[in-house]
């Protein structure tokens, strides 16, 4: 079998498109035979005309069907990270530099002749000189990177008598799958915090302690905007706060569990801490992420957990 088309962008050409008649196409050829016999038997000129016209239509529809996929550009679209166990959504985008294409189907690659395949992942029409993306949903079973499934494109337009399909396509794109968060509630060790002074907007304490270089994950409200306005570049204000607002989510804390369960628990802890508005750091084998709090930080932590190799 020829290798799959690979890359972040794939163009379909004559050399990687195939064609066979559909079931209806075979019946149609039988029909033509019956019509030809009738024309011969009755020596009927118009019957010959009709038979040959329909035969020619089927012949030229070969080209139209082929053209429907010819020179189509396929690209991977962006995909959002998901948690293991939920459905990952890939976008496959088609760029069309020619006229409108209709009835383009995205099929999963399975090891039988595609003609017999009945599953279609997505079906779309592509406007002329335009672009269109289709979503493909696949259940993400494991944490880590989930590659785009190997697919192939096919079409039966215009008459449904012929089926054209492409070589299988393996786009260089993947979806990040966060570990599945554990179900049980995690003891974040918040009872260490004395009193009830803790509240969401007191995350970092109130006392201005100095400036440091801006970090992309710093919250905008801590940027020293006045300095920016004076042309000194981006600087972040540091506030001195109580250490008790910062927690460390430590690999060692969940010693009694299996590694995957630990990851699952830590994932849950990250989510809970984020939800609680805490500043949290992550300490797992090979990676230490210092405490802070932002969406990017949350992503960094979950990504580290997702890709953790044990």
């Amino acid at each position: 079998m020829r290798p799959a088309l690979q890359g972040s962008e794939v163009v379909l050409t004559q050399r990687n498109l195939y064609m066979l008649p559909t079931g209806a196409g075979w019946v149609f050829s039988g029909l033509l035979l019956v019509m030809l016999m009738t024309a011969m038997n009755y020596s009927n000129g118009l019957a010959y005309v009709l038979t040959f016209l329909l035969a020619s239509t089927a012949v030229v529809s070969m080209l139209f069907t082929h053209k429907n996929l010819h020179r189509l550009i396929i690209k991977a679209g962006p995909s959002m990270p998901v948690f293991a166990g939920s459905s990952a959504r890939f976008a496959i985008c088609f760029e069309n530099k020619q006229n409108q294409r209709l009835g383009i189907m995205v099929e999963p690659f399975i090891k039988i002749t595609p003609v017999f395949n009945k599953t279609v992942l997505a079906r779309t029409d592509i406007p002329g000189h335009g672009q269109v993306c289709v979503d493909i949903n696949i259940v993400a079973k494991q944490r880590g990177y989930l590659p785009v499934p190997t697919v192939l494109l096919s079409t039966r337009f215009p008459l449904g008598l012929l089926y054209t399909w492409s070589r299988r396509i393996k786009l260089e794109s993947h979806c990040l799958v966060y570990p599945k968060p554990a179900n049980q509630k995690i003891d974040l060790g918040l009872e260490q915090l004395s009193g009830s002074e803790h509240s969401g907007h007191h995350q970092q304490g109130d006392d201005f302690a100095g400036l440091r270089k801006y970090n992309i994950s710093d919250p905008p409200k801590h940027v020293h905007w006045k300095a920016v306005a004076r042309g000194r570049g981006m600087q972040t204000k540091i506030f001195s706060g109580r250490h008790s607002d910062i927690i460390w989510l430590d690999w060692g804390k969940f010693g009694g569990h299996e590694p995957e369960a630990r990851i699952s628990l830590l994932t849950r802890a990250v989510l809970d801490a984020d939800k609680a508005g805490l500043e949290y750091g992550l300490r797992i084998p090979g990676t230490i992420i210092h405490p802070t709090r932002s969406n990017l930080h949350r992503h960094e932590c979950l990504k580290a957990l997702a890709l953790l190799e044990i």
Binding site: M40, S43, L53, T57, H70, G103, L159
Partner: protein, 662 residues
């Protein structure tokens, strides 16, 4: 089952099916349409009002019922009528089972068969035009089944029309090169009743009026296109030698050629397309030389097939316009007179004979000339509405009424000749015809029927003599239609000098236009007949001959055909799959806009985006602001937005084209 796409598909199917089966009402029992009307109605209600589909048992019972009905009615399932009626019933019943895509496609396939079935009844141009619509509708239905979204009705018809247009060249190649066979495969061909061409009997005085039928009997194409002059267009049918005084008929005993053509001159070659004809007569020009095939006998210098012509026939014939023939050994038959022949007729003939003998020379020719002079001078009158004649029509016509048409003259002339001792006989056939300059052929109609005579010259054999020509030269020169035109104007025939006659006969502009259109239409129909209805193995040979493929096996022909089709497909593929300019249409339009501005001195910098460029242009030339705004907006919208591609591209083109900076 309330899927709107499925509803549209069903409407397409109902519309296509209605169009296809409508012509069947002319040929098949009307009850054959009932299943369709009933089931299509039910199907519509399923989709429009959520009715239930008929169950499997109902469908099975209906199918059995249909089969029984066909057998009861036709006692067979084979043959054209039974087969097509059955197919009609099945098509109707198929509407009860349309849930799967497969069923819908199958229904369209049945419709294709029914389109073909129509051609077994009628192959005219009209039917073909009607069915082109049917084919487009059926293909559009297939497109709709395949692609329920994204296409308007117009676009669907456009797609199927495009397919058919692209298919046409392939169809033509297959049509002309696919090996044709002669005769049917199983001999189930249709049995049309042949129409009567002309009469094998002559009964002058029995009909007071000639049938004025403009139905064509045959058409002739001459090699070299130009037909011989009208006065020489005698289309020979039957030879009538025997008479009982009232009727003239052909002698059934003649089975072998009674005379041979010798010393022929002025050979003419031509193709005859003969309409169906019960008697199997062919109508060669003057005297035929060849016998087109073994089914045709050459008797008495005439051509007759051994069987009736059920369908149109084409023959290639050769004739001599000038000829001599051998002289038959037994002449008694050509001198026999009926007993009732009147004394005054015999006297008149004897007078001529005596005068001719006295004059010496060629007695027979002299007698014929006497007769011709007699007809010309004795106030004989050519009319299409002669009086009815009694017991001795020849005598009555010659001496009393003196009014008649070709039959009267031919019969009287032959009787006179025999009375004068000159062997003679009547020939019936056609004279003249209408030349069609568009199609370059001559049409001979029933109204061109004619009767003339032949007498035996001791040296030249059978010689044609047309007494009608003596009485009414214009009948021969201008044709029967001119005589009709004259008598409609209340003018006597042959009373006017030639020039004046031609002036009167010159048709008005309206009639001219009408005649022109009629001739053209006839030419179109005739061409249709030659290239579609009559295109069989014989005609195909002619084309293959030109391609150098004569006498080749059908395997080689199919191979050549396949090679040509593949070659054409390759060319077509190269055209349809050619690399289109990657710069899309919007971009091209925008660049055109920029070129226009560049001419006006405003060049877009490489770093400049469309919006900043527009801003600069507006500052420099505020009077162009509106146009620049519109074009830039269109461009940005089309290039980076998504909606309304088709509509706004047109708008942008218009805006750019209308933009004239100066």
């Amino acid at each position: 089952m309330t899927d709107p796409h499925a509803r549209v598909t069903v409407l397409w199917l109902i519309a296509s099916a209605s169009w296809v089966i409508l012509p069947y009402t002319l040929h098949l029992p009307v009850w054959a349409l009932l299943p369709f009307l009933f089931m299509a109605g039910w199907r519509y209600m399923i989709h429009a009002h959520g009715w239930r589909s008929p169950g499997r048992i109902v469908r099975l019972v209906l199918l059995l019922l249909a089969t029984l009905i066909i057998y009861q009615y036709y006692h067979t399932f084979l043959g054209r009528n039974a087969g097509l009626t059955f197919l009609l019933l099945l098509m109707g019943l198929k509407f009860s089972e349309l849930n799967a895509e497969r069923d819908r496609i199958l229904l369209v396939f049945i419709l294709f068969l029914l389109i073909l079935g129509n051609f077994l009844y009628n192959q005219s141009l009209w039917v073909a035009a009607y069915m082109v619509v049917a084919v487009i509708a059926c293909l559009a239905t297939l497109v709709q089944i395949q692609q329920p979204t994204g296409l308007t009705v117009k676009k669907q018809l456009f797609v199927s029309g495009k397919l058919i247009l692209a298919a046409l060249p392939f169809m033509l190649i297959m049509y002309f090169l696919f090996p044709r066979i002669s005769g049917g495969l199983w001999g189930l061909t249709n049995q049309n009743t042949a129409t009567t061409g002309f009469s094998e009997e002559l009964r002058p005085g029995s009909f007071s009026r000639l049938v004025e039928s403009r139905v064509p009997v045959f058409r002739v194409q001459f090699d070299g296109n130009q037909p011989p002059p009208a006065a020489r267009q005698y289309w020979r049918g039957a030879v009538l030698s025997d008479t009982d005084g009232r009727r003239w008929f052909q002698d059934k005993a003649i089975n072998s050629p009674s005379a041979q053509v010798i010393n022929g001159k002025q050979l003419v070659t031509y193709n005859v397309t003969l309409e169906p004809n019960k008697q199997g007569w062919l109508f060669p020009l003057a005297l035929p030389v060849n016998k087109p095939n073994r089914h045709i006998q050459n008797t008495g210098l005439t051509l007759k097939a051994t069987h009736a012509f059920q369908e149109r026939q084409r023959y290639r014939l050769q004739s001599y316009l000038s000829y001599e023939t051998t002289i038959p050994k037994q002449l008694g038959r050509y001198l026999a007179l009926p007993e009732q022949t009147s004394q005054r007729l015999r006297d008149l003939a004897n007078t001529w004979r005596r005068q001719a003998i006295n004059a010496g020379n060629n007695i027979n020719t002299a007698i014929v000339n006497k007769a011709m002079t007699y007809f010309r001078e004795q106030l004989f009158y050519y009319t299409l509405e002669p009086p009815l004649l009694g017991g001795d029509p020849v005598d009555e016509f010659l001496f009393e009424t003196k009014k008649g048409y070709c039959e009267h003259y031919a019969a009287a002339f032959v009787t006179l000749m025999r009375a004068a001792g000159v062997p003679a006989r009547v020939v019936v056939g056609f004279q003249g015809g209408e030349y069609n300059p568009t199609g370059k052929y001559l049409t001979v109609r029933r109204s061109d029927a004619h009767a003339w005579a032949e007498y035996l010259d001791p040296e030249k054999g059978w010689v044609r003599a047309d007494p009608t020509a003596a009485v009414s030269p214009s009948r021969i020169e201008y044709g029967i239609d001119s005589l009709r035109a004259l008598s409609e104007k209340g003018l006597g025939l042959d009373l006017l000098p030639g020039a004046e006659l031609r002036k009167i006969l010159a048709p008005g502009w309206l009639r001219n236009l009408g005649t022109g259109l009629r001739l053209r239409w006839d030419a179109v129909n005739f061409a249709w007949y030659r290239w579609v209805e009559d295109f069989g193995p014989l005609r195909q040979e002619q084309i293959l001959k030109k391609l150098g493929l004569l006498d080749t096996s059908w395997v080689l022909r199919v191979a050549v055909l396949t090679a040509i089709v593949i070659f054409m497909l390759a060319i077509f593929a190269a055209f349809i799959l050619r690399k289109q300019d990657d710069l899309d249409k919007t971009q091209k339009l925008y660049l055109l806009f920029c070129r226009k501005l560049a001419k006006a001195g405003l060049n877009r910098q490489l770093s400049e985006g469309p919006l900043s460029f527009a801003a600069r242009v507006k500052t420099a030339k505020p009077e162009w602001a509106t146009a620049v705004n519109i074009i830039t907006d269109y461009y940005v919208l089309l290039r980076y937005g998504k909606t309304g591609m088709d509509i706004t591209l047109k708008n942008m083109r218009q805006a750019v084209q209308e933009f004239k900076p100066s």
